[in-house]
């Protein structure tokens, strides 16, 4: 059985697709999400084999979401769309799998057959953005879309990736992020200062040098990030300190 997540902002569309997938008896729907941000979280936490991804979704479109997934844990992607000339052309050009709404069961069968036969991952670079414009984050009961330049610090711990922004919403400047540090490092202005920390260079107020070639970064809003030996040199060079 393929583990799948359906991501679509329309209730009936999700239901219809879920129903059709169940009928194939080849796919297990492990989650269904009504927007891309929730979708990201589920992909990260549930590690599906395949996602059925609608393109037209609020705030973060299916294509945006694709760029936010960590290439290493990227599941197979089947695009689902009602009508989108531009996207369809891109899929055709790159031979990506896509399904048109209303979904044709025969076509769905074919897709699943293909998925099962080769679980090797497609190369989606043609659709990926080099730089992310919005970083979807989640706080308590809400989604926040942060611009990369608003983020001061990003770090990971056992519970996942967290970002600290220079803006507070509902008195919070900390929220959890569904993007991996690697994606953030590659696709935003954040730079690595520690295995578990990224920092926004424009938000650095102070770099405090410690013993043993270690250091600490203090950001504009007073958050502290450790700098490991490995990254200190690069950091110093960046600011012409060495």
């Amino acid at each position: 059985m393929l583990k799948a997540i359906v991501i679509d902002d329309e209730l009936y569309a999700r239901e219809e697709l879920t129903e059709l997938l169940k009928e194939t008896a080849e796919v297990e729907i492990i989650a269904s999400c009504n927007n891309a941000i929730e979708g990201l979280q589920k992909v990260n936490s549930l590690k599906p084999d395949v996602i059925f991804l609608d393109i037209q979704m609020p705030q973060v479109t299916g294509l945006d979401m694709l760029s936010m997934l960590d290439p290493e844990t990227m599941p197979q992607v089947v695009f689902v769309t009602a009508y989108d000339e531009y996207a369809l052309k891109a899929f055709e050009d790159n031979a990506f799998d896509y399904i048109l709404k209303p979904v044709e069961p025969a076509r769905l069968h074919k897709t699943i057959k293909r998925l099962k036969s080769s679980l090797k991952k497609c190369d989606y670079t043609a659709l990926l953005q080099n730089q992310l414009e919005l970083i979807p984050c989640a706080g308590y009961n809400r989604f926040v879309l942060l611009k990369p330049q608003e983020i001061e610090l990003a770090y990971s711990d056992q519970s996942g990736v967290h970002v600290i922004s220079n803006k507070t919403s509902n008195g919070e400047n900390k929220s959890s992020c569904s993007l991996s540090l690697k994606v953030l490092e590659e696709k935003t202005c954040l730079i690595r200062c520690h295995r578990q920390y990224l920092v926004n260079p424009t938000a650095i107020r102070e770099i405090k040098l410690l013993e043993n070639s270690l250091a600490e970064i203090i950001t504009c809003n007073g958050s502290v990030a450790p700098v490991s030996r490995r990254y200190l040199k690069a950091l110093k060079e960046r600011f012409s300190l060495s």
């Binding site: 219809e16 705030q59 009602a82 709404k101 209303p102």
Partner: protein
């Protein structure tokens, strides 16, 4: 005493010449005080002539000349200003000097001084803004009186021997003062009459032209056809009082009103060679019945005896037709009507062009409307079908309803030819559309209707509200992660004593940005059609509070229409 009569006799001849000259265009510049170089030059030439004429018409007496030279000099000054007065006086003076006699120097000096006096009076009145006074015969009379007294004094002062001068002055003073003063008054009166006639003429001309222009406004913009030209011909016929008026296009008579309308019938082909020639060569033709013979080409007993044929020009010198003015055989073509005719042709040509322009604009909006209708978003259609196919599984009855709504929506969209609908119908159209969208966004879209009963029967252009609602969903609420809300409001408001209909579509997304071209087209067309219908003051206005709400507001005056 005898001298007075002789002098007055000479004066009569002098004034007859003045009267005759007043009939010529040479006199035209004298009737206004414009200060233009041409006017001054005309004053100088005319009055220098009269100045010299005055000397020639003088009567030789005691080795001197009793004369009316002063009239020219003073009038020159009065009408032309100090510089002209001086020049005229000097010219007359030098001329007199060459005639010799013991008063030659005195006369030359005094004539120049008289011209200057006239000029100073001119300046005085102009500076006070009393230009009209210059043309008063009484003023001319008094100024001449003073001028002549001055001349007598100069003769006494300058001419030698004094005894002889005194004797001369005693003899000529009274006759010359009287004759010159009267002469100047009469001369001025001639000019004044001329001026009055000219002004009356131009007043009559402008009032006729303005009246025709006013009455004919907009008639031809509805098209250049028999109905519209008939109205225009009627107006021209009434206002100009010519014998008959006809308007033709390139092939046939469109309208004919006046004498001879029993055989000049609208709809018949043009038979007159003059008209064909006017169209062919794009030239004005005036057949006055004498120099250029005129004979009605349709009926040899036609009473019309002269015709003025003026081509009507479309863009790029293309002749659209002609306008023809006729007078019957016993009546002369007044020059006012001839000039007016040319102006009218220009006026009508412009009106026809404007009409065509408006027509093209309407066609353009119609084409755009089709585009708007054809613009039914494929995304909407396929999503709707997808929704329906999902609903069929769960609730076949609901699916059937949705299909009904969808077909209703498309059927309405296919009705290209309906120009306007009631707000009630437009709301029904929106409801059909919304039923589908509400099903699609079932869990996160809410729409409220708050429309007052009294505006339901008001007519609006078709597809006024639906694009706004579609826009609010497509670019507004569908981009929200949270629930979307749309309010459709309608009512009347009072603004500056005018009752306006206000329609609003408000969403809670606040994502509208005026720069976006994609959303632009549909909304632009809505706005344009409202402006076409209700005028530039009204139409669609977008306002947006970023992230909070977008309001699309339509305002137009409340007009109660009975049909359509």
């Amino acid at each position: 005493m005898e001298l007075i009569f002789s002098l007055l006799q000479q004066l009569s001849v002098y004034l007859v010449i003045a009267y005759l000259l007043s009939k010529t265009p040479l006199f035209m510049p004298l009737t206004t005080v414009s200060g233009h170089l041409s006017q001054r030059l005309a004053c100088y030439v005319v009055f220098s002539l009269f100045c010299i004429l005055g000397t020639y018409f003088g009567l030789a007496i005691e080795n001197a000349i009793a004369n009316t030279r002063a009239i020219g000099a003073v009038m020159g000054g009065l009408l032309g200003g100090p510089l002209v007065g001086f020049a005229v006086g000097l010219t007359g003076g030098i001329h007199r000097y060459t005639m010799g006699g013991f008063t030659d120097t005195a006369c030359a000096i005094s004539t120049t001084a008289e011209g200057l006096l006239g000029g100073l009076i001119h300046s005085y009145y102009v500076r006070r803004g009393l230009v009209d006074k210059i043309f008063k015969p009484a003023v001319a009379f008094i100024v001449l009186l003073i001028a002549e007294v001055m001349q007598m004094s100069i003769i006494l002062l300058v001419a030698q021997p004094f005894d002889q001068a005194l004797h001369l002055v005693k003899a000529i003073a009274l006759p010359m003062i009287t004759a010159n003063a009267f002469g100047a008054a009469l001369f001025m009166s001639i000019i004044q009459d001329r001026k009055a006639i000219y002004e009356k003429y131009s007043a009559a001309f402008s009032s006729k032209a303005l009246k025709i222009a006013e009455r004919s406004v907009g008639i031809l913009s509805r098209g250049f056809n028999q109905q519209s030209t008939k109205k225009i011909a009627q107006i021209i016929y009434e206002e100009t009082g010519v014998g008959a008026v006809s308007i033709t296009d390139r092939e046939k008579i469109l309208a004919f009103i006046g004498i001879g309308d029993d055989h000049h019938l609208p709809g018949t082909a043009i038979s007159s060679d003059y008209t064909k020639q006017a169209i062919e060569n794009c030239e004005l033709i005036y057949a006055d019945g004498y120099e250029v013979a005129y004979q009605c080409s349709l009926y040899n007993k036609c009473k019309l005896g002269s015709a003025l044929i003026i081509p009507l020009l479309g863009g790029e010198d293309k002749v659209l037709g002609t306008i023809k003015l006729y007078e019957p055989k016993q009546k002369l073509f007044s020059s006012i009507n001839r000039t007016l005719g040319e102006g009218l042709a220009k006026l009508l040509s412009n009106q026809i062009l404007t009409g065509r322009y408006i027509e093209q604009q309407t066609l353009l909006t119609q084409a755009e409307l089709r585009l708007l209708q054809a613009q039914v978003n494929p995304h909407f259609l396929f999503n709707a079908l997808n929704t329906i196919s999902a609903v069929i599984r769960r609730d076949p009855d609901k699916a059937r309803d949705l299909i009904q709504h969808l077909s209703q929506f498309f059927r309405r969209n296919l009705k290209h030819n309906i120009e306007s609908v009631t707000i009630k119908e437009e709301l029904a159209h929106i409801r059909a559309y919304l039923e589908v969208e509400l099903a699609r966004f079932s869990d996160r879209l809410q729409v409220d209707f708050l429309v007052e009963q009294e505006i339901l029967d008001v007519f609006v252009p078709t597809f006024t509200l639906q694009p706004l609602v579609e826009n609010a969903i497509k670019h507004g609420t569908s981009t929200l992660l949270e629930n979307g809300k749309i309010e459709i409001k309608g009512g009347v408001i009072e603004d500056n004593n005018q009752t306006l209909v206000q329609l609003q579509v408000i969403d809670n997304a606040g994502t509208y940005s005026p720069a976006e071209n994609a959303t632009g087209l549909g909304l632009q067309i809505v706005d344009k059609r409202l402006k076409n219908r209700f005028g530039e003051l009204y139409g669609l206005q977008m306002s947006c509070e970023q992230g909070i709400s977008t309001t699309a507001q339509i305002l137009f005056p409340l007009v109660v229409e009975k049909n359509k």
